[in-house]
């Protein structure tokens, strides 16, 4: 899928999507269909299926794809798609494409998305809106888990691209007669970001494996992966912006699109501190295996 997205213009898709609505309504859906996205079912119980979904999301994140691919994959069981929302603040990216979708909250309760209450577009979230929902009913946790995992992979993809751009920029940009890559202050920042992303990659791989083998029991691992994703995003984007200097602060630069792309994913349904509290709550209740099991109240 990476190469299909690259052939289709990569980050040009998101830049074009702002003024050309058909990029999101026609072009990208057709492209994803051709790439076989519709055949992936992350709920099949086969680890290869959820891994394929994860890789697709990573590739989409890498170009800041202006399309709710995470929701489309996480909705493989329902008719159209499924989106994870904060029930009190159901701000959703691409909500205009979600009529007929379902929304879940972080406990698995479900409702139908029947439209967007208002368009809430900003520079950081040019395709956002507030989902209009109906009544909520109880549901299962697994769509929440699948959604969260895939979202981590999408953000991972964006961060990897941001780091790749920074590496390239450090090699190309010359100041004081040397490429930036010759300065240790730059090398260290790149190394730190690289370590951060390497760690995140292992953690999100572990989250996929955990879901494949433990299903609903993988909540703690997956929320922990989200914590790691949020922290890595902060650190890596800080480095990427710093290395780019003023050019990364411009709206034309790919970095700006990549760094704004994950804003809603990083805030909804919970941001850093909310997700940390959620992880603590989950460890308390279900314990936490990780490398060395930590017993929680639920496992005594």
């Amino acid at each position: 899928m990476s190469s299909a997205l690259r052939r289709a213009g990569g980050t040009d898709l998101v830049k074009r999507a702002v003024t050309e609505p058909t990029v999101r309504t026609v072009e990208i859906p057709a492209l994803l269909e051709r790439a076989g996205l519709g055949d992936i079912n992350p709920y099949s119980g086969d680890i290869n299926e959820i891994a394929a979904a994860a890789y697709a999301c990573r590739a989409a994140g890498a170009v800041a794809l202006p399309f709710p691919i995470v929701g489309q994959l996480a909705g493989a069981q329902s008719a159209l798609g499924l989106v994870l929302v904060s029930r009190t603040q159901p701000v959703v990216d691409h909500v205009d494409l979600m009529t007929g979708w379902q929304a879940v909250d972080r406990f698995g309760s479900r409702t139908d998305v029947v439209g967007a209450v208002e368009s809430a577009r900003t520079i950081s979230a040019p395709f956002a809106g507030i989902a209009k929902t109906t009544t909520w009913s109880e549901g299962e946790i697994s769509p929440v888990l699948v959604y969260l995992v895939l979202e981590c992979w999408s953000v991972l993809g964006s961060l990897e691209s941001a780091l790749a751009l920074s590496v390239q920029h450090a090699k190309d940009r010359v100041q004081f007669g040397s490429p930036l890559s010759r300065y240790q202050a730059i090398q260290f920042q790149i190394a730190d970001a690289y370590v951060e992303l390497g760690g995140l990659e292992v953690i999100v791989e572990q989250a996929v494996a955990s879901y494949a083998s433990h299903g609903a029991q993988s909540l703690t691992d997956i929320v922990a992966a989200r914590v790691a994703m949020l922290e890595a995003a902060e650190k890596c984007l800080r480095v990427a912006h710093q290395i780019h200097g003023a050019v990364g602060f411009t709206d034309e630069h790919d970095l700006a699109w990549l760094s704004r792309h994950g804003h809603i994913a990083r805030r909804s349904p919970l941001g850093v501190s909310g997700t940390l509290a959620w992880a603590a709550e989950s460890i308390e209740r279900h314990g936490f295996d990780g490398l060395f099991p930590v017993m929680g109240a639920g496992r005594e």
Binding site: V174, R238, E252
Partner: protein, 410 residues
């Protein structure tokens, strides 16, 4: 946004670290507070809590406000009386800025004139230049921009290629500047250009004052990731300025430019007041809007503590400056500390917003202000000398190293 929110963090700082203010400063504080209360109302109300280069919607009103300040004697207060100022000292300046930001008064768009090129002219300008340029600067009638950076001269400022040659009594300028804040709004540009053919690095540069409204200049605004187009590319193609518009000696522009940069880093101290307001807005949001503020307690306390340190460093810098002592590398320290602090605050603002942060495009909401703080804080460790360049300067001093980056913004 509640005004009380803005006052909150400042009041707390005052309680903890009482200012031992001079009588003159206290008097000025009281007088200015009353003036702001009476004047920052009516048609100027839309500016409260806003203003500055990003606020494109209110730009003309902002200029009007600054003209009003000037007309009433509340602009350029550190300038000598003969140039329309009050000859205010460091303590008075501190009190003045403190009151200004507490009142929610708008960020200034004329600061490049008031704080950078104005003081530079007082130090290096000819009497004719001073007579010609200072009065309209003081009255906010002519706006200024700073033409230093070029595509290949960012941190490495001495790599400037834009060149000017003297033809009769006119400088003819060719080349390109970039990231020029407010270029599209400015009447004049103070620019560092190469005036000696074949010269390199710091030698052979001159500091020119160039009128912006002429056929030889093309300004192409660049949109920032914050959404506004504050800065621009500026192309010079046979642009002209008269021979006498060179500040300092021809070929000696580097030292004049460094004087301006020194003023710029001093100006950076004024960010403290803006920063205090940004923190207060964040604290206010956490207290009033979030169900459970405890989640952010630790980060807020850290932010607050460091802000107090920033204030202390800033006061020390101002005092040193006033006593005529060298403020290097203190200004580098201030810049590094302050911009890093603001970047952390930006990330905190991003965190406290939660899902709501993405949902507003109404520029008058707290959510919008917090989002702006976050996006803008990305630029703080970059402009006016990056964090890495400041670290180089500090390290060089501490470790007694020879200059490794001769010609940087130091």
């Amino acid at each position: 946004m509640s005004e009380t929110g803005w006052r909150h963090a400042n009041d707390l700082l005052d309680d903890l670290f009482p200012l031992r203010e001079s009588a003159a400063a206290t008097a000025l504080r009281g007088e200015f507070r009353a003036w702001l209360k009476a004047n920052l109302t009516g048609r100027f109300t839309p500016l409260i809590g806003r203003g500055g280069a990003w606020d494109e919607e209110n730009f003309s009103l902002n200029v009007e406000w600054e003209r009003h300040l000037a007309a009433e004697g509340w602009a350029c207060i550190t300038w000598p009386k003969e140039f329309g100022g009050r000859s205010a000292g460091a303590a008075e300046l501190f009190a003045y800025r403190d009151e200004y930001f507490r009142a929610g008064a708008p960020e200034r768009v004329n600061f490049l004139a008031e704080d950078l090129v104005g003081p530079t002219l007082m130090k290096h300008g000819t009497p004719e230049q001073i007579d010609r340029f200072l009065p309209p600067m003081q009255r906010a009638e002519e706006m200024w921009c700073q033409g230093y950076s070029e595509p290949d001269a960012g941190s490495d400022l001495a790599n400037i290629r834009t060149r000017a040659r003297l033809q009769g009594d006119t400088w003819v300028i060719d080349g390109q500047k970039t990231w020029t804040s407010l270029a599209a709004r400015s009447d004049w540009c103070f620019a560092l250009v190469r005036t000696e053919q074949g010269s390199a690095r710091r030698a052979g540069l001159s500091y020119l004052l160039i009128p912006m409204d002429q056929p030889g200049i093309e300004v192409r605004p660049i949109r920032q990731m914050t959404g506004s187009a504050e800065f621009a590319e500026v192309f010079f193609d046979g642009a002209v300025t008269s021979a006498e518009n060179v500040v300092g000696a021809v070929g000696e522009g580097w030292s004049v430019a460094m004087a301006t940069l020194g003023f710029e880093r001093d100006w950076f101290m004024s960010r403290y007041f803006r920063f205090a307001r940004d923190l207060a807005v964040t604290v206010d949001y956490v207290r009033n809007t979030l169900g459970d503020p405890r989640a952010f307690e630790e980060r807020i306390v850290r932010s607050f503590t460091e802000l107090a340190a920033f204030r202390a460093i800033g006061l020390q810098t101002l005092a040193a400056h006033e006593a005529g002592e060298s403020t290097s590398p203190l200004t580098s320290l201030t810049k590094l500390f302050g911009s890093s602090w603001h970047r952390d605050l930006g990330e905190l603002s991003f965190s406290v917003l939660g899902a709501a942060g993405a949902q507003t495009h109404d520029q008058n909401t707290v959510e919008h202000a917090l989002q702006r703080t976050f996006l803008y804080s990305r630029a703080e460790p970059i402009f006016a000398g990056t964090n890495e360049i400041q670290r180089n300067i500090i390290a060089r001093r501490m470790l007694e190293l020879p200059s490794s980056t001769a010609g940087s913004r130091s």
